[in-house]
Amino acid sequence: MRNVAQSLRPVVAALVGLLLGVGLTAFAGENPWQVLVVIIQGAVGTSYDLGMTLFYATPLIFTGLAVALPFRAGLFNIGAEGQLLMGAVAVAALGVSLPNIPAPYSAVLAVLVAFAGGALWGAMAGWLRAYRGSHEVITTIMLNFVAAGLTSWVVLALIPSTDSQNPESAKIGAGYMWHAFSLFGGAPVTAALLLAGLVALGIWLALKYTVRGFELKATGLNTDAARFAGIDTRLTQLWVMAIGGGLAGLVGVAEVCGNSGRFRLGFSPDYGFIGIPVALMARAHPLGLVASALMFGILQKGTSELDLETDHVTKDLAGIIQAMVVLAVAADGALAWLMRLRRQTAAKGGRAHG
């Protein structure tokens, strides 16, 4: 029972953050309650809205996993944004340069290539951390910017759009496109959502039942102890970051094959960074993470309605609310920790007096 209460705490923190963010709209002369209603209705009001929410949640499952898996190994991956760009550019380059590959093969190939693109970027940060001692937080921040520059060059110079003036790549071959499920009124919900769910399930099982999963967790819990126990912790750090990057790279499949059919510059509304609170809220648990990705999907879709439905609030509120949620969740772990500490010192004091 206490375990349930423990895992509910970040959810409560997230709700507090949400209410704080929505409460801010009072300053803009809006009724916060109405704003909340607009957000909820915008997210799940019609089957199309629900579809869009699921569409936004899909990349967040991937980036959430990309943050959560290294987190379990004691590494902080804030490079999911760069990794997903590399995955997307790899898929776009594949689809543009080999346009005639037919359906089942093209899908497999796209998944592999997207994974490889992101994995390369993650492995770089992992290698730098494990073998050169460079802190992964700084290197992944820097690699994000390098990826942004590099992908923009590849897209605009090597595979530029042939049919439009927008900053985007040419269209990929038709055989690569994934079909949207008919359930959601035309919203681009494709098999990528199922892929995300299966991957999350697979990672949960792998963490629980495999030797590699155990090595990963051991490295995260105590690197020194893991090393003495004979685990190659450096290699573990390297491949964990590689897999994390690869998972972020799969966002490329959801976007390029499942939605636009091309790499559009700036397609990601910071999926990589939102992956951090998604992972944190779930305490890096792969299955819980699917739920928190859904919550952030609701936020993303719901707040996008604010431009139209309210007079003074724009969708920038999405960023503010997300930020409040992030900060509340971040500070929540701290509060729990403080309370534990207080209990401990109280217990100690009690013994001293007794």
Binding site: L24, R132, V326, L338
Partner: protein, 288 residues
């Protein structure tokens, strides 16, 4: 040729100004043992407040102060979350940045009923050169302060050996609070120099990663004021070259893609972090 060189130097110093302010803010914060990846956000709110105050009161000096004060205010929020609440500094920093992306457009909508940018400020009400001068003097003052004053010593001990500082009867948390607030103030000045010196208004996400470049300069400068200043000037030069190299063909190399020059600071930082060109050594107690 001479005038071309002079032109490049001037442009480098101008473009380095926001970086220098932010990097010095980051330096103070990180020397005290607190990571600050929220420099970008503090710059953004500083840029916005400076543009608003300068536009409304027609005084760049008041704008500059407002920019610094607003950066400080956001830093106080950050400090509250990471110091007494002990939240993870990376996550909190990311959250602060997200907040700072959203807040200015939200306020612009409330204040001027526009989305995104603030109204343009008249040329006469903008700075001509003052921020450059302050930015160039600041690192020297800071270097001297770190070396020769008691506060400077406290700051260094807070980051290297907080236990020793506490044993000496100094409140480590208070030193770190001061450092976090100062970092917000300087980052705010950096943002202000962007909106009322380099350009004439606030526009959406106008820092475009400069907070992170400042962080890169800080690492490149090994957390020391004057080397960090040099790193900022180097990145300023890269920025100045990028504008001038657009569309120019180089002998043998052909066209240099603009993106390659834009990513230069980050690549340089990664190479330095990897220890290929001297080792970067962070304060020992950073993030602890």
């Amino acid at each position: 040729m001479d005038s071309y060189l002079l032109d490049i130097c001037g442009a480098s110093a101008r473009l380095a100004t926001p970086l220098i302010f932010a990097a010095m803010g980051g330096l103070i914060c990180e020397r005290s043992g607190v990571i600050n990846i929220a420099l970008e956000g503090m710059m953004l709110v500083g840029a916005f407040a400076a543009a608003v105050v300068t536009y409304d009161l027609s005084s760049p000096w008041l704008g500059l102060v407002a920019g610094g004060a607003t950066g400080l205010l956001l830093a106080a929020f950050y400090g509250w979350i990471v110091l007494p609440l002990r939240a993870n500094q990376i996550v909190a920093g990311t959250g602060i940045n997200m907040l700072a992306y959203g807040l200015p457009p939200f306020c612009a909508k409330v204040l001027y009923d526009v989305t995104g940018s603030t109204p343009a400020i008249d040329l006469v009400h903008r700075f001509a050169y003052a921020p450059i001068v302050i930015a160039l003097v600041l690192p020297v003052v800071l270097a001297a302060g770190l070396r020769f004053t008691r506060g400077g010593l406290w700051l260094q001990f807070a980051g290297e050996h907080p236990a020793a500082l506490a044993a000496a009867g100094i409140n480590v948390a208070r030193v770190r609070w001061a450092a976090v607030l100062a970092s917000g103030f300087f980052a705010g000045l950096g943002g202000a120099s962007l909106s009322i010196f380099l350009s004439s208004s606030y526009s959406r996400n106008m820092t475009s990663g400069r907070g992170f470049i400042a962080l890169a300069a800080l690492i490149l400068g090994k957390w020391k004021p004057v080397p960090t200043l040099v790193a900022c000037l180097f990145f300023g030069l890269a920025d100045a070259m990028q504008m001038r190299l657009q569309g120019i063909e180089l002998q043998y190399l052909g066209k240099v893609p603009v993106q390659f020059i834009q990513i230069l600071p980050y690549v340089v930082t990664i190479v330095v972090l990897a220890g290929f060109v001297g080792q970067a050594r962070a304060p020992k107690a950073l993030g602890k």
